[in-house]
Amino acid sequence: MTALHPGHWDISELQGSPRRRRRERLVGRLAFAAAAVSILISVGIVYALLFEAIQFMLDVDWSRTWGQIGWIPRQGYVDLPTIVVASLWVTLIAMIVAAPLGLAAAIYLSEYADARVRRILKPVLEILAGVPSVVLGYFALRFIAPDVVGNVFTSAAPANLMAAGIGVGLLTIPLVASISEDALAAVPGSLREASAGLGARKRSTSLKVVLPAALSGLTAAFIVAVSRAIGETMVVYIAGGAADSAVKNFDPTQPGLTMTAAMASVASGTDSVAGVGPTFQSLFFVGLLLFLITLLLNLVADRFVRRFRQEY
């Protein structure tokens, strides 16, 4: 570097060496490129779905997508109500399991547990969140279906949608708990103190002050969990009881295919090779439906999250 002479400042000396500046510019551009990849991914997803989904919509015999005996792509029956209703059942059952358990866990961790108890109990949720979904699928098939659902509903099939739904629910508990806990923790302590100052007991404070104050965040937790449950594939694919096709059946104690499991079946089964009509393209059409549903849910949840961030 050239020596600096007081009184003879040159602008280039203040800028630092050209090599250093070039490197700065390069790093900035590389970082931008990395961030731009995320946009490319979104474009890629939409392109991948739309192209073949439109092909499906043009080619398919629409009478075969409604009021058929079931989802049997091999024979050209792509009855949408069959898989949509199965998805709704699985999601409903999952939420019946995950919403109360996740919310209760969040209230306990946020309002009642001291640091020591938190340190012991929080990892339980973290471990559960790390269990691969194929493992929960196996558990649903081996334990929940025969020993839980089978005991309550004696007419239940050995593998069924209800067992899969409970499995999905267990999988979503950590998600509900962590977002709910964030929402409860964001409620300012002054509200709790004011409530206690008025003579309210801990339970009244938790239920009548903290919970309503965190409502938008809790709503977000619920919506994100619904979105996750609809998109869960492997638990239903393994424990749903339907091999590669499902007969229309609105009873959750019987086998079924959700939208996601139907996609996995089409992709893995022999149905993808040969079939009547645009069988393989049905995969993309169902995928597009799934993508739009989860996108809508995520956008709504995002709105709620931002609201509770703004409030406090």
Partner: protein, 318 residues
């Protein structure tokens, strides 16, 4: 003027009523607290039952023929079937995912936290990433199938349904999570540290490289390694990408790198395929044993995350 005295006299009627109220046990509150706690204990119970079930089911294979199970290939005979190809596939998938997702994810997070101007494009990228994190994994499978397996340009690179194509798919799948956790870790760097870096004449990149990244390293490492563990357990995108669910005849060596462009399978796929077989030897014994191996693999990744985090945290304190 004296402050009004707080009534301490508990002999009066009002005082008595107050005292009764205070001494009344809060049974409802206790029950409520217990109910909340039991929801957490129930979750713990589920985990315990799950572990007992899986280890119980897998014990015959694990105690009986663990060596052959780990080194054997897929087979139609349950007593001979092994998971060597699945393990190798999962190992390569994790490797490719890490190589692709880490630099991209950390780079994107650095851009969003440090370089990005506050404009509409940045907001859009931000919302876009959060939405990508919520896209179901099976939809990423469709992306992988269309772009990485069949898309032109990529087809000649990946060679079709190969570990390379699947690894790229998983990298794209975990990328949003890597970005979000890295950005959070960068945000936790104290402002004073950055200012000190600039104060001694560091450029933006020098401050990021020498001060921010080392400080944020524990958080970044934990987040990224957890996302690799997630990639190791994903099955849905692999099914879509065309991972072999039937038989793979050859068991090539672990270090034959050319296999990243060959036919492959992975642990979650092996588990799924076996779990759907009719025979109990596959459906129960082999599946559970494979699950035990997968869980051990994922736990190793998680503990590596914890060990690395602790080392970095210690260095930060020093």
């Amino acid at each position: 003027m004296a402050a009004p005295a707080i009534p301490t006299d508990t002999t009066g009627r009002a005082g008595e009523a107050l005292e009764r109220l205070r001494r009344r046990p809060d049974i409802g509150g206790r029950v409520f607290q217990l109910a909340l706690l039991s929801s957490l204990l129930f979750t713990l119970l589920v985990l315990v039952v799950l572990v007992i079930q899986v280890f119980g089911d897998g014990s015959s294979v694990i105690t009986g023929r663990l060596g052959g199970f780990l080194t054997g290939g897929l087979s139609s005979r349950a007593a001979r079937a092994g998971i060597a190809q699945g393990l190798r596939g999962t190992f390569y998938l994790c490797l490719i995912t890490a190589i692709v997702a880490f630099p991209l994810g950390i780079g994107a997070a650095i851009y969003l936290e440090e370089y990005a101007p506050r404009n509409k494009l940045t907001t859009f990228i931000d919302i876009n990433i959060r939405n990508l994190a919520g896209v179901p994994s099976v939809v990423y499978g469709i992306l992988g199938l269309t772009i990485f397996v069949k898309g032109f340009g990529f087809r000649s690179l990946t060679g079709g349904s190969t570990p390379l194509a699947a690894g790229l798919t998983l990298a794209v799948l975990v990328l949003p999570v890597v970005i979000i956790t890295t950005a959070e870790a960068l945000r936790s760097v104290p402002q004073a540290l950055k200012e000190a870096g600039y104060g001694v004449g560091g450029t933006q990149w020098e401050v990021i490289r020498d001060h921010m990244l080392p400080y944020a390293a524990p958080g970044i490492l934990t987040g990224t390694l957890l996302s690799i563990a997630r990639a190791a357990g994903e099955a849905a995108p692999l099914i879509l990408v065309g991972t072999i669910t039937g038989y793979l005849t050859d068991v090539p060596s672990w270090f034959d790198v050319s296999q990243i462009r060959g036919r492959f399978t992975a642990m979650p796929i092996v588990i799924t395929t076996w779990a759907r077989q009719p025979q109990d030897e596959f459906r129960i014994d082999n599946t559970a044993a494979a699950i035990v191996v997968l869980i051990v693999f994922v736990l190793l990744l998680n503990s590596a995350a914890i060990v690395l985090r602790n080392r970095f945290e210690k260095r930060r304190e020093a």
